[in-house]
């Protein structure tokens, strides 16, 4: 019996039949949906300026997130690993993550760009105060967690009744 060359792809016979068909259906349905978008978007967003702004937005959002935001988050994680004691780190990491998410959600309202003098019910709150309250709640919860962990550690060290 001759040996197959090492580079030849082996047919994948390990997948159950239902999965093979599920994958085919998903890829076919997904491709159809993407094609629908590729046809529908330019034929409905007909203004060339709108189309240009759409493409600019998508590129900027992509680059800002993957080239600026994510590396910044990863770098912050490395700094935390280096400079923050291990017992505080998980809570600090979690609280920073929640903070970042809340800031991203609140940012458009914080700028107030959507306010209009004839529409007092649009963006009716003080969002600086709102964000301060939200972050206050998050960091209070974080402090409580750290305090609870510290107390538990203390008890573990001193098991006397």
């Amino acid at each position: 019996m001759s040996e197959q060359p090492r580079s030849a792809p082996k047919p994948d016979t390990s997948l159950p039949r239902w999965m093979v068909w599920t994958r085919r259906i998903m890829v076919a349905a997904g491709s159809a949906a993407v094609a629908n978008a590729a046809i529908g978007l330019p034929s409905n967003l007909t203004n060339t300026q709108d189309q240009r702004h759409y493409l600019q937005f998508i590129v900027k959002a992509f680059l800002l997130t993957l080239i600026v935001l994510l590396p910044a988050v990863l770098a912050a994680g490395r700094l935390l690993r280096r400079h923050v004691p291990a017992r505080f780190r998980p809570v600090l990491q979690g609280a920073l993550f929640v903070t970042l998410m809340l800031v991203i959600v609140a940012l458009p309202a914080l700028t107030g760009k959507g306010r209009a003098p004839d529409l007092p019910s649009a963006l009716p709150r003080n969002y600086v105060h709102g964000l301060a309250i939200a972050l206050g709640a998050v960091w209070s919860a974080a402090l409580l967690l750290v305090a609870a962990q510290t107390a538990r550690r203390g008890k573990e060290k001193d098991p006397s009744p």
Binding site: V27, S31, V34, L41, D50, Q93
Partner: protein
């Protein structure tokens, strides 16, 4: 050597290794990916419903009851979209080093997968960011018509998600059914801790924004773009009379509401409308931007006017506003809504004459419809048999 299967270039390899947390694993990526897939699925279905109600395909039917159904679906759409932001962030973080993996294009399946991932990431970011900008009414930051772009991009997201999941299904299955690999303790977040932080972020976003549609949370939703308690006559407004340029026409002494039907045409003054049989409906006004507010409306039943001009239970009604040049200046009221006894040409809101910003002298209010179809400042009602 085939350029597509050459080893990774040096700088990319170094970048890929530079941020290599041990928390990353196919299991974590699969878990978060599935949650994100469910969230995007909810957004797609509820978004499609909202679009279909406004631009109904021939096969589409939307009932007038339950009255709060659209309030729930659109509230869910915006709330789920906001809550998915931490999921998307963790998902991107979990696969970030793979951006630097090489070769990228080993075989056709890889090519499809890579292209679908590129589309998925780019359009997911667009959807989430434009959604956040839209509810905060910061339209100028987009520079394109949000509604059209958001709707068609949703097809690209859901399509590329299906392709991606289809390609990755064996990996996902293996990752979720395999024995859990213990992550060496590093003092940082554990896998469970990361998922808890992600859940906490989604919960915090929800609590601090959901009050724009879920009134019991209005007082604590300090980041909600709307407060259902704030607005003229206690109800928020999305388009003012000044912005619509209708003040003069709406307050003119010669104002008449024209009701055109198969049998006759009526021209009604505000006094005529007030002299007709009046009804009261408790209905929410639900904005496509996700906020909603319940209110008590009083006025003339639409079906009474339909009957008065020779229409019947199967009549379709088109209402037109005094507002000029707006894509929302008229709307179609299909028979289920037109014959519903709760559907009114409202003259009063919460016991007072309608404020100009709420559509004085007369506006449509019907159950289970988006706010953009609750046409304000009515000048014409056309009843078709």
């Amino acid at each position: 050597m085939d350029p597509l299967v050459r080893p990774r270039p040096g700088p990319l390899k170094r970048m890929g290794k530079a941020f290599n947390s041990r928390l990353r694993s196919p299991r974590l990526t699969s878990q978060v990916g599935l949650m994100l897939g469910v969230a995007f699925g909810v957004c797609f279905v509820t978004g499609f419903l909202s679009h279909a109600i406004q631009h109904p395909p021939s096969w589409f039917y939307w009932p007038s009851r339950p009255v709060d159904l659209y309030r729930v679906t659109q509230g869910l759409h915006v709330a789920t979209g906001l809550a998915s932001i931490p999921l998307l962030a963790v998902k991107l973080w979990s696969v970030y080093p793979r951006l630097f993996s090489w070769p990228a294009l080993r075989d056709p399946v890889k090519v499809i997968e890579r292209v679908s991932v590129l589309v998925l990431v780019a359009v997911s970011l667009l959807q989430v960011l434009t959604g956040v900008l839209n509810i905060a009414r910061w339209y100028s930051a987009m520079g394109f018509f949000f509604t059209v772009a958001h709707y068609w991009s949703a097809w690209a997201v859901i399509g590329s998600l299906l392709v991606h999941l289809g390609v990755k299904l064996p990996v996902v299955r293996r990752a979720l059914t395999a024995k859990v690999r213990p992550v060496p303790a590093t003092g940082s977040l554990t896998r469970r801790g990361l998922l808890a932080a992600m859940g906490a972020a989604s919960a915090a976003i929800s609590v601090f924004t959901i009050g724009e549609t879920f009134r019991p949370f209005a007082a604590i939703s300090v980041l909600a773009p709307r407060d259902p308690r704030v607005g003229s006559q206690g109800v928020p407004v999305n388009q003012s009379a000044v912005g619509a340029g209708v003040i003069s026409a709406a307050t003119h002494a010669l104002y008449r509401l024209e009701v055109i039907g198969p049998a006759r045409t009526l021209r009604l003054t505000v006094a005529d409308l007030n002299a007709l049989s009046q009804s009261t409906s408790d209905l929410p006004i639900t904005c496509v931007e996700g906020w909603s507010a319940g209110a008590t409306w009083s006025g003339v039943r639409l079906r009474d006017l339909v009957t008065a001009v020779g229409g019947d239970e199967g009549s379709r009604v088109t209402v037109t506003s005094l507002q000029q040049g707006s894509r929302y200046a008229s709307s179609v009221v299909d028979p289920p809504h037109a014959r519903d006894p709760l559907t009114l040409l409202a003259l009063r809101l919460n016991g007072e004459t309608l404020d100009l910003d709420h559509g004085y002298p007369c506006r449509l209010i019907a159950p289970n419809r988006p706010g953009v179809l609750q046409t304000k400042w009515l000048q014409r009602v056309v009843v078709e048999s």
